[in-house]
């Protein structure tokens, strides 16, 4: 099994808060591991829509299709630390590889007050034309936003 050094907060500059839900827990009383990808997705979509201005749920001519994803689970996330908004964690996003029509995101989830990532992973998106589903070059403004978050 390849070793993965545990990601630190200092390796990221873009963070988005993620609200954990009771319904994310499984019989082991932890957030179910599948949900980590839901959290990654939420962090990426927040980056794309809010930081990069992509109207993903509306009428952007270009949308992102997943090509590959990966997650390493370091530590369980559960409902400890429950506050007025429930449990919030931080989703961290950076750009690890920026191709002409694809991007590979570097991702991590941090529990509040912790420097070590509870989970870390990657996700490759291919940008496609919304009508034809064919790969298309990443539009300039989107590319510029991504370029600001390369390592």
């Amino acid at each position: 099994m390849p070793k993965h050094p545990i990601e630190q907060r200092s390796a990221f500059r873009y963070f988005t808060p993620i609200q954990v839900r009771w319904g994310d827990l499984d019989p082991f009383n932890h957030v179910n591991n599948v949900l980590y990808y839901r959290y990654f997705e939420l962090a990426i979509v927040t980056f794309l829509v809010h930081e990069a201005g992509l109207d993903l749920a509306g009428s952007s001519p270009v949308v992102s299709f997943a090509a590959e994803s990966h997650c390493v689970f370091n530590k369980a996330i559960d409902l400890s630390g429950f506050g007025p908004q429930g449990v919030m964690i931080d989703g961290a996003v950076r750009v690890d590889r920026l191709g002409s029509s694809s991007v590979t995101w570097g991702l991590a989830l941090f529990r509040q007050g912790e420097e070590d990532a509870a989970a870390q992973g990657s996700w490759t998106h291919v940008f496609v034309n919304r009508q034809t589903s064919r790969p298309t070059p990443i539009p300039d403004d989107l590319r510029a936003a991504m370029a600001r978050y390369t390592a």
Copy 2:
């Protein structure tokens, strides 16, 4: 079809923020209607854990089982108004009926800046012993917290 007057914010005193996720959307580009119950659940759990001090995901001797739930859908929730945390809505909770071992919650979901509920409903919980699953009287401190939010 019975008419339901649309619930207003002024009919509630307990609100909890709920984060909408991209993954909550369905092919109609709206939050899927099943998810409204997930949001109701999140609002109730936040009330129980944070406001009423019930250690639901831990070791509380008493837990809540759903007996009945209901939702009226007034207006779609989607990703419009996307901000730095994505789309946040407000989950509103009150106590419509407080029995010896059961509670019926009055619930509503409000889009930000709106007075009319996007959805409204009710949920009846029976409190049971965690080990035996048998109905049990609502503990005094939990009951006191609920009593503060009766209409």
Copy 3:
């Protein structure tokens, strides 16, 4: 709390098998109550697409929007009775009210080998034009399929 007599299999003529997933369970080791609406939805969609020929996920001019839903939880569903396909339950669908542009479904979930419903409920759909989201009369062939399953 109004009493609901427990629904029986004999009150239904349309059934669709539903596969329970590990990921449907919550910390109480039961199917989470929100998922019951997911199962209802699956049963209705199977009726609409397979029995009534509506191309819901494709290009049908008419689609269904939820107006109201309701569920009574009689008995927990869990992973007992796990077989080669995991746990299968039966989703039962009938038409309780057929309006000009809306339908109220009568619904129930049965564990295999049981006559009493584990859960029962209703769901009102309004049919709308896919482009405008405005209510539209139920198309004749769809209406005919529904009419075969009125009580």
Copy 4:
């Protein structure tokens, strides 16, 4: 980006049917990519519970925690081919690495009638003591079941 040859059915001997749900679709009208992990999980759990006899949702002294997972998305899964049970796909499972307390599963999802995997991936589970969450050797009968499905 490393190339992944597309997995074929002939590379697997254990298959479990998986029912696609309307609620699995996202605004692109495809099964949302996060759900592929839900399907992998369902296939693994069916293997563990039905083929290997592990009482995962009950009282087995040993349970499985995810350490790492990975998926390559070759082709979209949608509602085409909708039959009386909706859309069924095949989840394929094999054992790619069997350690003393961990296993790495080889996984793939096949649309019906297709030889090429719509998606393929891997998942590493560590077996832990249910009470202490500490890694524990895989019990002999569980190991024997896994050993039957090594490549």
